[in-house]
């Protein structure tokens, strides 16, 4: 089966079309030059579309995709990261970092105790390095707790 590349090719072609549509949305300016703002993006979209066609008609062999379990793990990792990005500002550095690092560690090697220690250690260790060695203005804990 060479489905991955064919599918990828279709996505690339659709992307190139969307990009082309986006290029036509660019508004003209009172300043102009012979090439303009659209030409180069349109050239790129053209080349990308040709590449996409190439994948559809001359696909490579499928890579080894991970099983459902691993895929689930990666989805969890992504969700944890997204949550971390949102939590960093309101909750401060220490707590989200400890939780996020512990979960990621658990996913690479599923043993709860070492993972928890890793999370805690990384959180405190990195905070000390960032705050005192590098002088970053990180907030350790939620603002409300600090009064």
């Amino acid at each position: 089966m060479k489905l991955s590349d064919r599918l990828f090719g279709v996505v690339v072609i659709l992307g190139a079309l969307a990009y082309t549509a986006g290029a036509f949305q660019i508004q003209a300016s009172f300043m102009s030059d012979p090439v303009g703002s659209k030409t180069f993006p349109l050239m790129l979209a053209g080349v990308a579309a040709i590449c996409g066609l190439n994948f559809v008609f001359r696909p490579d062999d499928d890579p080894a995709w991970p099983g459902r379990m691993t895929l689930g793990n990666i989805v969890v990792a992504v969700l944890v990261m997204v949550a971390y990005a949102h939590a960093l500002k309101p909750l401060g550095f220490l707590i989200p970092t400890a939780v996020c690092a512990a979960i990621l560690s658990f996913q690479i090697s599923p043993r709860p105790l070492p993972a928890a220690i890793t999370g805690l250690g990384l959180s405190i260790g990195l905070f000390l390095i960032f705050k005192y060695a590098l002088g970053l203005g990180l907030q350790p804990l939620p603002k409300a707790w600090l009064g």
Binding site: S4, D5, V12, Y19, G22, A23, I26, Q27, A28, S29, S32, D33, P34, V35, S37, F40, P41, L44, V47, A48, C51, N54, F55, R58, D60, P63, W65, T70, N73, I74, A77, V78, M81, V82, A85, H86, L88, K89, F93, T97, C100, A101, A102, L104, S105, F106, Q107, I108, S109, P110, P114, T118, G119, L122, L126, F130, L134, G135, L136, L138
Partner: protein, 514 residues
């Protein structure tokens, strides 16, 4: 004697205690980054850049720190190649071929010492080469106009594609994606927004640091989750470290040949250290013939790729500094650093900011000796660091990436974008779509488009200008004003097409991400 006075200027910058400290710290960090599997040079430099900013380093200091990390990573990669049979970074791949068999035969110490000396030899050779070649090249590049630059960018993308992937179309697509991302934001020439979809965060475009950290560091975390850290196996024990003088003296010819090959491979735009070590190993294998026993654990088999790797790493700095076109992934990241520091590499750098260029060169010379000391007598220290397990290392890398990007922009939008790039990087790695051209595209996209548009303004929209032809109104015909653009374009086409045929002849290195 201009060279000597320039060097004197360089050493006056490099020998200040703080710069010296940065060079030593960079070498130390770099060796660790290189030695740890999963944390390559481009990765390591990328996650350290935001931190360098928050330290408030000036241009010279930041550049000295980062290039010391870069050189250090190139040295460090061999440690895990030899001891664990896992390349610490991609260029060290070839070192596993003879390094690991040597280690299994109980000569791990010899392999480390010999490859350390070979790294030193190659890096020193390349630094001297950089010193001699870069000013010459910058003098030539001084005369480059927009059409020359446009052709040069095209050359960089097409040659990079040739070695970065098995499939030329995938490499070309990666370049297009990178260039396409660079178009996002306000148009340099007209000031109109492009591809922002009305999102205010995208007005300034996509920050290349976000893309770099996402595509390299975050993607690496996914790869490790997938493999459950299985790749971090336990290797051979390291015994006593002594200096094998006989092997070293016998290998001088090998180191010299490999350094020359590596340096040339590094200077070519788009190639880089992986290609350097690959070509050096294959070349030396041919020189030694069957009697050389390459692949069975011979000293010359670890010296050749390491000399080639480090010579290429230095060589890759030449086009980056003189033309503003990086010769490899990591130099692309270094270029990102320079651009963010408001320094535009290119021929004018040598005349406008001699303190930066020569300070850098002097620091590299110093860094080489520091690295030799760290990597030969003190190599055991790094071997201990290698025992950090993946389940501590990867979350650590992840958290440093987040804090680095967060401290740079303070917006969670950039963090989300970074995660997105991480997912894309992981999928692309599965599909064998190289990520280095994407980075190069994001970095150079606006410069490439500007070159094209300025060329068209000069010629009033005549496309023949790009090939070196100019309309001559008094004679009423075209004149051939320069052979450089068309020769570069011919090279670009050749560089793109040649690998398709050559691939049947030589096996390429597995992946290029240095």
């Amino acid at each position: 004697m201009e060279l000597l006075s320039n060097l004197a200027l360089g050493f006056s910058v490099a020998l200040t205690p703080f710069t010296l400290f940065l060079a030593v710290a960079g070498c130390f960090l770099g060796t660790i980054i290189g030695a740890l599997p999963g944390l390559g040079p481009s990765n390591g430099v990328a996650i350290l850049i935001p931190l360098a900013f928050s330290l408030g380093l000036d241009a010279t200091s930041a550049l000295v720190l980062m290039t010391a990390v870069y050189y250090g990573a190139m040295y460090g990669g061999r440690i895990s190649s030899i001891l664990l049979n896992i390349p610490g970074d991609e260029p060290a791949l070839m070192t596993t071929l003879d390094g690991y068999p040597m280690a299994k035969a109980g000569r791990a110490g010899d392999a480390l010492v010999l490859s350390g000396f070979a790294s030193f030899f190659g890096a020193l050779f390349a630094t001297i080469g950089l010193m001699l070649l870069a000013p010459l090249l910058s003098r030539i590049a001084y005369q480059f106009g927009p059409s020359e630059y446009f052709a040069l960018y095209l050359l960089a993308f097409s040659t990079l594609g040739g070695i970065a992937s098995r499939n030329q179309a995938k490499a070309a697509l990666a370049s297009c994606i990178g260039l396409g991302i660079a178009m996002i934001g306000l148009d340099n020439q007209t000031g109109m927004p492009r591809f922002t979809g009305g999102n205010l965060h995208l007005m300034d475009g996509v920050d290349f640091l976000v893309a770099i950290v996402g595509l390299f560091a975050v993607a690496e975390v996914f790869v490790f989750i997938e493999s459950h850290g299985r790749e971090s196996s336990i290797g051979v024990k390291l015994g006593k470290v002594t200096l094998p003088v006989r092997d070293l003296t016998k290998g001088i010819g090998t180191m010299l040949r490999s350094s020359v090959i590596g340096f040339i491979a590094g200077v070519l735009p788009g190639a880089g250290a992986s290609l350097g070590s690959f070509l050096a190993y294959m070349g030396e294998k041919n020189v030694q013939g069957k009697k050389g026993g390459f692949g069975t654990g011979v000293p010359k088999g670890v010296m050749a790729p390491e000399a080639g790797n480090n010579a290429a790493a230095g060589g890759a700095l030449v086009p980056m500094l003189t033309l503003g076109v990086p010769g490899s992934g990591t130099t692309a990241v270094l270029l990102a650093l320079l651009l963010t520091l408001n320094i535009t590499p290119g021929p004018t750098l040598f005349t406008d900011r001699p303190d930066v260029v020569w300070g850098l060169i002097a620091s590299l010379l110093i860094a080489n000796f520091v690295l030799l000391a760290m990597n030969v007598p003190m190599v055991k220290m790094f071997v201990h660091i290698l025992s950090v397990p993946a389940w501590v290392l990867l979350p650590g890398v992840m958290m440093i990436s987040f804090v680095g990007i967060y401290s740079l922009s303070g917006s969670y939008f950039d963090l989300l974008l970074m995660i997105f790039f991480g997912i894309v990087g992981w999928i692309f790695r599965k599909l064998d779509v190289p990520t280095v051209p994407i980075i190069l595209g994001i970095l150079l996209g606006n410069h490439m488009e500007d070159a094209l548009r300025r060329a068209m303004i000069l010629s009033d929209g005549d496309w023949r200008f790009l090939f070196g032809f100019r309309w001559h109104s008094s004679s009423g015909g075209y004149e051939f004003y320069s052979a450089i653009p068309s020769s570069l374009l011919v090279l670009a086409v050749a560089g793109f097409v040649a690998p398709i045929f050559l691939r049947r002849v030589i096996k390429r290195p597995q992946a290029v991400s240095d």
